[in-house]
């Protein structure tokens, strides 16, 4: 088990390092940030001066070397678009907002998916089942930004139930969370449904029925407890997906998270911030996968012994 964890951990580190290399190279190929930063009036001397100031005149491998050594100490450099702020600072400042939105979106998708999944399993084969499947699938078929804008127009502008954008109390989170979370409903629902089906057929449930328990008690108290184990481990994986899906949602609702930060940074060619965001995201995703793998290994001895 120890060897397995060590191996997976090293693999994760390698993955993160490759990520940093890929982002670093791509970012620098995206063009000269000075073209975005400097005003139209800037002269050739201005370009030279600012380029030297930011170390852009050094060769690529030198720049990467400097970047890597600093990054290992947690320093991703100073942002170019937001002078005076360090790139890591900005990421940490915005990350809570994204995590909060992702968490709430997950909650929303569970709240929708759980009853639908249970219903679909219990009433398998009936029109209820088909209807449930379609509701879930619709979430996977709608373009996220379109859904967001439509929701905004109906619920925020016409009905006035929610604010249109920004971050604040609970009511600011609902529309973006639905936009972000609905995509996952189908996957979660399917998991719940199949787990429920397995359990519903099992021996011990038949026993409870023989005992004479009310049907709803059978379903909710006994089946769900066991059916819930599989989806819980699935959540960790979804988390990573939600975080990257948030780029579009944050853009529509002006939710001040890392997704919005990275869009602004890419547009402004602020390499430092782009690198920081991508590596932090990838890091979180890779580490979550690592944790899930370790959890599975713990639960399933076959993997451990490989």
């Amino acid at each position: 088990m120890q060897r397995y964890i060590a191996r997976r951990f090293l693999q994760s580190l390698l993955a993160i390092w490759v990520m940093s290399l890929v982002v670093f190279t791509l970012a620098r190929f995206s063009g000269n940030p000075l073209d975005v930063m400097l005003p139209l009036e800037a002269t050739a001397e201005d370009y030279d001066r600012v380029s030297k100031h930011w170390g852009l005149d050094k060769p690529l491998y030198t720049q990467y070397g400097i970047f890597l050594t600093r990054a290992l100490q947690g320093d991703f450099g100073m942002s170019w678009k937001w002078p005076g702020r360090s790139a890591m600072d900005l990421v940490w400042e915005r990350l809570p907002a994204t995590l909060q939105l992702a968490g709430f979106a997950l909650l929303v998708s569970v709240v929708i998916a759980l009853p639908i999944g249970v219903l679909s399993a219990v009433k398998k084969g009936t029109p209820w089942d088909t209807a449930a499947k379609i509701i879930a699938l619709m979430g996977q078929s709608l373009p996220g930004f379109w859904l967001g804008i439509v929701l905004m127009w109906i619920f925020a502008v016409h009905l006035g139930w929610f604010p249109t954008s920004g971050r604040g109390g609970l009511q600011y989170m609902i529309l973006p969370a639905i936009t972000l979370g609905w995509f996952q409903v189908a996957a979660i629902m399917r998991l719940v449904r199949s787990s429920m089906l397995e359990v519903l057929d099992s021996e011990f449930v038949k026993l409870t029925r023989i005992k004479g328990l009310a049907e709803w008690k059978v379903v909710w108290k006994h089946c769900l407890r066991n059916a819930a184990i599989a989806p819980i481990t699935f959540f960790a994986i979804i988390a990573g997906v939600l975080m990257t899906g948030s780029v579009v949602t944050e853009s529509v609702f002006s939710w001040p998270g890392t997704g919005l930060l990275v869009i602004d940074a890419v547009r402004a060619r602020d390499f430092q911030v782009v690198q920081a965001v991508v590596i932090v995201f990838a890091g979180i995703f890779i580490l979550t996968n690592l944790l899930v793998d370790i959890l599975y290994a713990y639960l399933d001895p076959r993997i451990r012994l490989r």
């Binding site: 693999q11 890929v22 063009g31």
Partner: protein, 298 residues
Amino acid sequence: MATVTVRTLPWYAAPRVAHAMRRVRRWPLVPLVILTFLLVIPALLAPQVAPHDPLKGSLSKRLKAPAWLEGGSIEYPLGTDKMGRDLLSRMIYGARVSLAVSAVAIFVGGAIGTTLGLMSGYFGGRIDGLIMRLVDISLSLPTILLALVLVAAVGPSFWTVITVLVVLLWARYARLVRGETLSIKERDFIARARVAGASHTRIMTKYLFPNVVNSLIVLATLQVGYVILLESALSFLGAGLPRPTPAWGLMVADGRELIVSAWWVSMFPGLAIMLTVLALNLLGDWLRDRLDPKLRNV
């Protein structure tokens, strides 16, 4: 004389008809019909079916309403967009674009993924380790971010989008094929082939691959919808197909600021995306149930 009342069965309960209907009902009719009309016919017969040139518009006819609203005319059944181009024609050609992008991306991604997956599962050892590591890395790349940066570097184009999609898609195929290969490769008929002197390539292509095809088909079908959605998200962020390509995602992105006044510019392409992807998902589900229930977790 005794009268005998003969109760005749209704025509649809007659054994032959009932049998035929049962066979038809086995097919997922609704998704197939939707797909034929929204995707297949437009994609294949676009020049014949579209009433106007999707790229030509006249500014004086911009933002005309669909035919059934006031201000609309039957000449532009679904209205026109910002540049005065017929929406229906652009949607028809858009089907072609969506299908082309998905087909190329999935084919290339699938080919690469399948090959690497077969090699990984069959050879095992170091090759397996290396390829699986690549898979992990590839699956952990934050796609949208990468797409943004890549497009900032190279500019939006058909091939940029394809590259991003291929990088995203191949890993899933590799993982799937590797898993299947692992479970088949210890079987007798493979051992027999090896004893008979078949080369590695021959074993992989003639023996392993056909057994994997079913799962590949399911995965591919399920991914077409996902690819279409991803392309529309990339277009929204400005990292998708270049203007003035008639692509559904691009059309929704372009019309988003008009969602109040000229809602049709965004709404119809959005609906097309939704229905097409829905149909593809239903079809994929049905295929999975029929071909390989093991793929529950795909």
